[in-house]
Amino acid sequence: MSFLEVTAQLANGFLTTLLIFGVTLVCALPLGLLITFGSMSKIPPIKWIMRTFIWIIRGTPLMLQIIIVFYGPGLLFGWSALPRLMAVLIAFVINYACYFSEIYRGGIESIPKGQYEAGQVLGMTKSQIFFKIVLFQVIKRIVPPMGNEIITLVKDTSLARVIMVVELVQAAQQIVAQKALLWPMFYIGAFYLLFSGLLTVILNRVEKKLNYYSG
């Protein structure tokens, strides 16, 4: 196989990697916020259910969660199977939403009480205070830890191969296995480095853009 053929086949796998990355990010960002509201709820049952849920998801390997989402329905209830990619997406979205939710919670709890009190003095409602005053300060503060998680996500997408979703690593593995070429396995490192490099640049830009309080 020539370099171009290998690149084409890897690019195919990379598209799946990008899809997992994109869908997870788009769905887990808002879902994480909902989980945060649950885990910070004033109603104890909701709060404890959410915190237990977060504990389970953060306390077990994502690889195991993918396996359970994919094989679980059939083994436990005899249902027919989810499409492989769908199972991966469900597991990734839930897992990342839980991690994001804890970052959100850290951000929300770091906002001084005075900000809420100022809002109340101005006669704003609770949700107005949250969405118009608190949330923007939270976003600014959580960009660095979110950047960390987002870059971890790029590399975690390779876990999809446990249920044989052909993402970048699996695409390379197939070439290694079928054509006895070893170098594609090292070549994919460049894909990951370039992509996470691009994300780093974007995240730095975002951080600078949000730096509106320091004159």
Binding site: I46, Y71, G74, W79, V176
Partner: protein, 266 residues
């Protein structure tokens, strides 16, 4: 806040509802027939299921599966699986059959039904050509690093051998065994003869590897793996195989892929 929680719960419930929408009381064969597709769990290796130079899936098992499916009136759908998870895949209905040169053994018999065995195979040791003088028989392999596919008949053969089992590490797939040998991370690999014969030696991707002819490990048989409760599919596949034996088309397939010496119906 309540509205948001309600929306979240609704979303969570719809996920479960979606996952559960196809529970049913049909028999397994009816379920496959209704789909019109037989999802076949495979791993890619020569000469069973592999890609030719036009990147088309081909091979002995590929053609064999297609021929049997035609008789059954369903479309084969080939799905690559992790060989370690094959029982999982079969029981959770993520695949319908395992059809990829699967060796019959007692452990698998507890989990699934088998078709009529169609190939008589054996396990062989593969080494680098450079090591040809070093490893001539089992005794000379004392202390050398050995690998085989986890859960394969090769692994069982290694574990039952007092010399080979001394320095053994498992591998995820038979192809990985070859990569281990080629890259020099392990010295001896145990894989089945059918695969070794097709992928090692002159004119192959692994031209620097060879089979140690004097080492003969367990004889074994290949069969199709079928879900345990589906006797109907088993008898249909067996009937189709018998037809192919009777009209000589299975023998012709064996000849095409250089498998005549392991053909089971002689």
């Amino acid at each position: 806040m309540k509205k948001i929680m309600a929306a979240f719960l609704a979303a969570a419930m719809s996920v479960f509802a979606f996952a559960g929408c196809s529970a049913s009381e049909k028999t397994d064969w009816e379920y496959i027939q209704e789909k019109g597709k037989l999802t076949v769990g495979i791993t890619y290796f020569e000469p069973m299921n592999y890609f030719d130079e036009n990147n088309e899936l081909t091979g002995f098992e590929t053609e064999f599966t297609k021929a049997v499916c035609e008789k059954l009136g369903v479309e084969p759908e080939f799905q690559e699986i992790d060989w370690n998870n094959k029982v999982f895949e079969l029981n959770s209905k993520t695949i319908d059959v395992i059809w990829n040169g699967m060796t019959i053994n007692e452990d698998l018999a507890k989990e699934m039904l088998f078709s009529t065995p169609y190939i008589n195979n054996r396990q062989v040791a593969v080494i680098k050509k450079d090591n040809a003088d070093k490893y001539k028989d089992i005794a000379s392999m004392e202390g050398a690093s050995v690998t085989a596919e986890i859960g394969s008949a090769g692994e069982t053969a290694v574990q039952n051998d007092s010399v080979l089992s001394k320095n053994y590490t498992g591998c995820a797939a038979q192809k990985d065994v070859l990569i281990e040998i080629k890259s020099g991370t392990t010295e001896i690999g145990v894989i089945d003869y059918v695969m070794a014969n097709a992928s090692v030696g002159e004119g192959t991707d692994y031209s620097d590897l060879m089979i140690v002819e004097s080492v003969e490990l367990t004889p074994e048989q290949y069969a199709v793996g079928i879900r345990k409760d589906d006797k109907e599919l088993q008898s249909k596949i067996n009937a189709a195989i018998q037809e192919m034996v009777d009209d000589g088309s299975l023998k012709a397939l064996c000849e095409k892929y250089d498998l005549l010496d392991v053909y089971a119906f002689k």
